[in-house]
């Protein structure tokens, strides 16, 4: 179960008017995104990952020595080698028995990390999940398919294994035939075929969400909030319509932060919902999808969440 989440966004606000080669109103109209946060030149992603981790550990009142594992989800690590989780284990001061694992995933990564955390943690064990990217460092500023879309954010989550709690329900999938839709070769810029990504969402993501609910005999009415990966307005409009959801069931944060990769689900929880709101919720469904045509969905009991905090770094 999730005990707490802290999500960090850079202080630098980049509005649609900042793009010299795109029409600001058109970006807002087509994507629903009005602004995003980007790191400054010279900012180190590792420092944001560390500070966000430190804050969630403090807020959840645990010690780094209590951690069974650190799972880092990122495609923009400060160091290609070694794995970021090993560096964070040293910076935070975990024991040498803390398992350190990096996952190379984008927008579905938070769900995959939660899934792994549940299988790694011993009884009453604690896992730190650090998910997010600074994709502004990998996009070409003149590329209309990526530059106006992506924002930077890093989330840190404390996951606790608690046998007494209801089991979270997961559905993890990969549709490898669509892998070419989002790529980055070597140190080049990210390349996204938006139409192919959208076809993947239309043909695979909608049905996989329906499959998730059906396999656990749940209806959409039994889920208070669907926290979708915040791809853009077109994608969330499609998911809301196809699943027959009410607008109040679909919190949205992309208008303020853009598409923030694997941080977008925890960011939406921190920015659009409160611990109090979740304490009255029966169930929430988290849904991530993205690069590698990967998909993850989970139905969780949100009442375990005691910390939701959004910070600027």
């Amino acid at each position: 179960m999730i005990q707490g989440i802290v999500t960090a966004v850079p202080k630098r606000v980049v509005g649609n008017g900042s793009f010299l080669t795109f029409d600001a109103n058109k970006i807002a109209k087509l994507t629903g995104i009005y602004e995003r946060r980007w790191v400054d030149y010279g900012d180190r992603i590792l420092d944001i990952q560390y500070e966000t981790s430190r804050q969630v550990i403090d807020q959840c009142a645990i010690s780094p020595k209590d951690l069974d594992a650190i799972i880092v989800v990122t495609q923009t690590p400060s160091y290609q080698m070694p794995h970021t989780s090993a560096i964070l284990s040293h910076m935070l001061g975990t024991t040498n028995d803390c398992l350190c694992l990096d996952i190379n995933l984008g927008c579905s990564g938070y769900l995959h990390a939660l899934f792994y955390a549940g299988r790694i943690a011993d009884e009453d064990g604690k896992v730190l999940i650090v998910a997010g990217d600074c994709l502004s460092t990998t996009i070409a500023r003149e590329d209309s398919a990526t530059a106006p879309i992506f924002g930077d954010a890093i989330s840190a989550t404390i996951y606790i294994d608690d046998e007494s709690e209801c089991e979270s329900l997961y559905n993890i999938k990969t549709f490898g035939e669509y892998w070419r839709s989002i790529t980055q070769q070597g140190y080049g810029s990210m390349n996204m075929d938006g139409g192919a990504v959208f076809n993947f969402i239309q043909k695979k993501v909608v049905s996989s969400i329906e499959e998730t609910l059906a396999s656990y005999d749940l209806s959409t009415n039994e889920i208070d909030y669907f926290i979708f990966h915040q791809a853009n307005k077109s994608v969330l409009d499609l998911l809301e319509a196809k699943l027959g959801l009410k607008a109040s069931q679909v919190p949205r944060s992309y208008h303020k932060f853009g598409n923030t990769s694997s941080a977008s689900i925890p960011l939406t929880l921190c920015s659009e919902l409160s611990v109090n709101a979740l304490s009255n919720a029966r169930g929430i469904c988290l849904v991530g999808f993205g690069s590698g045509a990967s998909f993850g969905a989970a139905v969780i009991d949100p009442r375990s969440i005691k910390v939701l905090k959004l910070i600027e770094i």
């Binding site: 398919a145 938006g194 076809n199």
Partner: protein, 69 residues
Amino acid sequence: MSLEKELASALSIVEISDDSSLHELDSLGRISIMAYLDINENVILEADELIACKKVMDLKQLIEAKRIK
């Protein structure tokens, strides 16, 4: 709503007129049309098919063909 009206609504979102070339559309524009037609017409356009449409008439014929299926 008739296909003509639905298509006009879809194109108005991306500010494309009936006699314009669809090659003016960028990735975001194409996705907006794909989303609109799926939500309102239950038609899934393949990204490659949409890119291959040169004129609005080509798109109209494509949608009609998919509706018949």
